[in-house]
């Protein structure tokens, strides 16, 4: 059992700065949890508290069935992979991998066996006698991961492990770490992992669940798909997804027939029945209207009334299979973006820069956020 539970975890620095505001989080046995957030959101601090490298100001941390608040890092049953690898520069790869076991007074034969096993798993065997400075970035990161595996910890902690690698290597390491996690899981070795990153591709592709943090608060914890489809608040909606979700301020009003209308300045949009039902209980008039770029299409005859908005095309970015069409809605300062397949753009939008165009907003996939509380009131 290596379930990790954070209860009311708080961190206050000696200068009075409150970095972590009493967060609660449960990480299931064998789960791969990604913690994501902008820099300064205390995601690394949280991880370091979990590792025991940073003291805890309040709350409890439980790993397995033990409360580890006051245990030193070595007794917590964790292994950590650092952003800049943190390999011991004066030791060979073999010694780096076996160092933890040597300190734990494991016999030489067992160290040798486990080091070789990990090296095989990570294809490090030919590199075992090299020094860290003779390794490339990707190799060094594999050694860092290997060092964690050799220890057979209850919980793996990753602190932005891929951010020092170039894009291509990052993609392959991403797959590797995911595969490794699955391999360990299959061989019945404990593989609960907490992975801190600021890269949302990593978060979306690797995580069983994602925890989004902001300024020391947890904004939402959910599976990647749910986080994308059902963001609970403005922050999560804006943070997850590229290109970003379009978000504009709007007024929400209700008429006698219980229909909900959004007005973007002069133009109006009508909420479909199922959305209207949800909004009803948390009604607010000052709202932020959000819609992802893939749910904006070019309007045609079949587009229902109340979902069509007139805009002026500002610029089009060719992404190959699709175009990012940026347009402005009359009276709005903020540009909006639509993802439109290349063939449609070529057929209908060619040379339309600066011209008016009707767009179809798929309102069933739109989100309405209360401007005050920033909460999603359309879920």
């Amino acid at each position: 059992m290596s379930k990790v539970v954070l209860e009311n975890l708080t961190k206050v620095y000696s200068n009075g700065f409150k970095a972590v505001h009493g967060i609660n989080l449960e990480i299931e046995d064998g789960e791969f949890l990604v913690v994501i957030g902008p820099s300064g959101c205390a995601k690394s601090t949280t991880l370091r508290m979990l590792a025991g490298l940073e003291s805890i100001s309040g709350g409890t941390i439980t790993i397995g069935d033990r409360t580890v608040n006051n245990l030193p890092p070595k007794d917590r049953g964790i292994a950590m992979v650092f952003q800049n690898y943190a390999l011991y520069p004066h030791m060979s790869v073999r010694e780096n991998l076996g160092f933890g076991l040597k300190l734990a007074k494991v016999s030489k034969e067992d160290i040798e066996k486990q080091v070789n096993e990990a090296a095989e798993l990570l294809e490090l065997t030919p590199l075992l006698d090299r020094l860290p400075r003779q390794l490339s970035g990707g190799q060094a990161q594999r050694v860092a991961v290997g060092r964690a595996i050799v220890k057979r910890p209850q919980v793996f902690l990753f602190d932005e492990p891929l951010s020092n690698l170039d894009a291509k290597l990052r993609a392959s390491m991403r797959v590797r770490i995911s595969d490794l996690h699955n391999t360990l899981k299959k061989t019945n070795r404990s593989a609960t992992s907490v992975y801190v990153t600021h890269d949302q591709t990593e978060a979306m592709t690797m995580g069983d669940r994602i925890c989004v943090m902001k300024d020391g608060h947890i904004m939402q914890v959910d599976t990647p798909a749910n986080l994308y489809k059902y963001p609970q608040n403005l922050f999560v909606a804006g943070f997850i997804g590229a290109p970003e979700m379009n978000m504009v301020e709007a007024d929400l009003s209700r008429n006698d027939q219980d229909e909900y209308h959004l007005s973007l300045n002069e133009q109006g949009l009508t909420l479909p029945a199922e959305k209207a039902q949800k909004v009803a209980s948390k009604f607010a008039s000052d709202v932020v209207f959000g819609i992802r770029p893939e749910f904006i299409k070019l309007a045609d005859d079949s587009s229902p009334q109340g979902e069509v908005v007139k805009g002026i095309v500002i610029r089009m970015e060719n992404m190959g299979a699709e175009f990012y069409v940026h347009f402005s809605v009359d009276g709005e300062k903020k540009e909006m973006c639509a993802r439109i397949p290349s063939d449609i753009v070529e057929a209908q939008l060619w040379n339309s820069k600066g011209k008016e165009q009707l767009f179809h907003f798929e309102m069933s996939n739109a989100h309405i956020f209360d401007k005050q509380t920033e909460e999603n009131i359309s879920l």
Partner: protein, 302 residues
Amino acid sequence: MTKLFIDKSTTGVVDNDRFLRVQMRKQKIGAVIRYFILLFCGLVMLYPLFWMFSASFKPNHEIFSSLSLWPNEFSLDGFINGWNTGTEYTFGRFFLNTFYYVVPKVILTVISSVIVAYGFARFDIPFKKFWFVTLVATILLPTSVLLIPQYLMFREMGMLDSYMPLYLPMAFATQGFFVFMLIQFLRGLPTDMEEAAMIDGCNSFQLLWYIVVPMLKPAIISVALFQFMWSVNDFLGPLIYISSVEKYPIALALKLSIDVTEGTQWNEILAMASIAIVPSIVVFLIAQNYFVEGITSGGVKG
């Protein structure tokens, strides 16, 4: 030099080539001037050393009568008589005496300074700022100020005329300069490795031994080297604490030949001085690479 790629069709190849040639010539002339100045300064600084070395092969009367570095009358008398000294001991004895206190001094300095610097750089100790300021203040304090109280203290302990007063204080990291230097070096080292080692299961001392000391190696070598050279050259310390001739180190032994003989035998003194600097030079050459790394990378991110 950066290569310039200029479109041949617009500027013409000839101009480009000429430009490059002129640049090359300017650089060559610059280099010649630079090296000439460096060579000149180097020779000026080395001249006294050459003079000392050449004078030790001259007979006594020639030393002050000619400017030439090459002896007119080549003689080894300086070395032979100098080595035998005017006392019952040979110069070899004084050499050994020197190492009897220099070696423990260097070892104790390194051990104590590293431990204290590690504490300052990596642990939260109460009133750390105050202690650090105190440490820096001791660097600024002239050593001669402490001589009399220290002498009295060692007299009470019955350690006069032994090497203990020379090296015992080093066991307590009393040379603030070295501690300061190591602290600065440690501050420049990233702490990730130490954190990784903590997770791997190191306690504070294992951390120091397995991780910090290997990373500190260049700085430690600098400390050892400085301490070695300063101690070998130290005159005041032995002069005050050592009174019997059989315990004299080199520095005092050289002085010995100045006042026991009536007309000072300069060639003997210079010959022995030439021998006396050999250990320092050898040690420096061996440790040179580390030494330079140690004093230049302190404070810079490693």
